[in-house]
Amino acid sequence: MPTDTRRLTGPESSQSPYNFAPCSKLNLSNLEKRPDGRSFEQLRPLFLRTDVVSQARGSSYIEMNETKAICAVYGPREVLKREDFSLKGQLTCDFKFTTFSCRQRRQHQQDSQEKDLSVQVLEALEPAVCLHKYPKSQINIFITVLQHDGCALSAAIMCASLALASAGIEMYDLVVASSIAICGSLTLVDPTAQEEEAILKSTVKLDANAGAVTVAFLPSLSQVSAISSDGELSFETLNKNMQACVANCQRLYPVLERTLIKHQQELEAAKT
């Protein structure tokens, strides 16, 4: 492996000390209560704030208990490469986990999961942004997950949509996202990292229904902008849980709305 000459490097290989610890696996088959004390269909409290990055055009911070992410929006700015010219504006998204955000240390370079999530966030947001209003320019979204405890995708989508709105980028609607993890007859709303891991790595086949669904929803238009599902799910289960996700999105929407109103009020107050 070529060594990175632009970073300080430690020994060639190192591993997490927890690889040598007896693993405490979450037993899903007879789960009565979730590890954090929530009921199965309970969402985590959502905390949002705008204007956290002074240098950015718009920015926001999201916290869902132990899942914490920050997002900054720059632009609209000039497209540097001439061949990228288009009359429709371009949206780019860069999703990154910090190296210390997960249980296992992550690398500095963007890995395949992060690239995949960048695309998913982008696809969830694109239908909501009036890109035809920004010809020949690009809008850049940068998302950094500071701590990952499940639902990174939905947190990133909400955080980014709020950052776009606070940047004054014209949009049709805010984007709200929510996810559900499914394991047989058990459904866990807004799963934590521990729960996500337990379901995706469960070796026992539970009537082919084990996975997770994330839905991105435009609440005032009542349209779904993106659906992402992992694992094996029957059509009925998927359908049922997508509807549950949409219902949860509608419950989360007022929080985003209020944060945006507060942001606007602060902006007005600063002007006078």
């Binding site: 632009r6 970073r7 300080l8």
Partner: protein, 232 residues
């Protein structure tokens, strides 16, 4: 034919009637050691040697262009391997030092590049790099606000100070300080340090280094005048 001159401080000290006990290690310069560059020098301070070359004022890369002054670029090549963050830091200190020294506003929208190749680090490598770069700039006749001279001082555990330390002095020392002075007021332009030290030690090192810097400037003068005599 390459016109090069070799000046040694030992000769200088002898000429001026000073004893050979010059505080700095013997300096040897070879101005114009390479021919295709605008300015080049190979400078030895004791066993520490570096080669510095200067190109410019020349065309600048469009993204580095400054409309009111020349862009100073410094590339530092270590003896072995690729440049690493420690060399980037060195590069940056050298660049910032010469940004102040070079009269950059005389050459707007152009680039002045300094490339330093470390050939042998036997202590006080930083000083050698700065001094060789300054000589190379003089060789290239780049206009400067002032000349600069760098002197390294090592502080030993016992409180003793060693001027222009060798590699061995540096490893034994509790800290190593490098000072760069301008030629006009002999004020401090750059300081870099490695290791803990007290305030008094900083001051004492400063006094010692400032005195030694004068002989570095004298050395520049002699080197240049020899070169000019040769070319006549």
């Amino acid at each position: 034919m390459a016109s090069f001159t070799v000046v040694k401080t030992e000769d200088l000290a002898a000429e001026q009637g000073k004893g050979p006990a010059c505080v700095l290690r013997g300096q040897t310069s070879d101005l114009g050691c390479l021919t295709r560059q605008d300015g080049s020098v190979s400078l030895s301070q004791g066993d520490t040697t570096s080669i510095a070359v200067v190109y410019g004022p020349a065309e600048v890369r469009i993204n580095k262009e400054q409309i009111d002054q020349a862009t100073v670029e410094v590339v530092y090549r270590p003896k072995v391997g690729l440049p690493r963050p420690e060399h980037r830091k060195q590069e940056r200190v050298i660049r910032n030092t010469f940004e102040a020294a070079i009269a950059a506003s005389l050459h707007p929208r152009s680039a002045i590049s300094i490339i330093i190749q470390e050939t042998e680090d036997m202590g006080s490598n930083f000083s050698c790099c700065i001094n060789s770069s300054c000589l190379a700039l003089l060789d290239a006749a780049v206009s400067m606000n002032f000349m600069v001279a760098a002197v390294t001082v090592a502080l030993k555990e016992c409180g003793e100070m060693v001027l222009d330390p060798t590699k061995r002095d540096e490893t034994e020392a509790k800290s190593v300080l490098s000072y760069v002075f301008d030629s006009v007021n002999l004020q401090v332009l750059t300081v870099v340090s490695c290791g803990k030290f007290s305030r008094a030690e900083y001051r004492n090192g400063l006094v010692l280094a400032r005195e030694a810097a004068k002989s570095v400037f004298q050395f520049y003068r002699e080197s240049m005048s020899k070169k000019l005599l040769m070319s006549q």
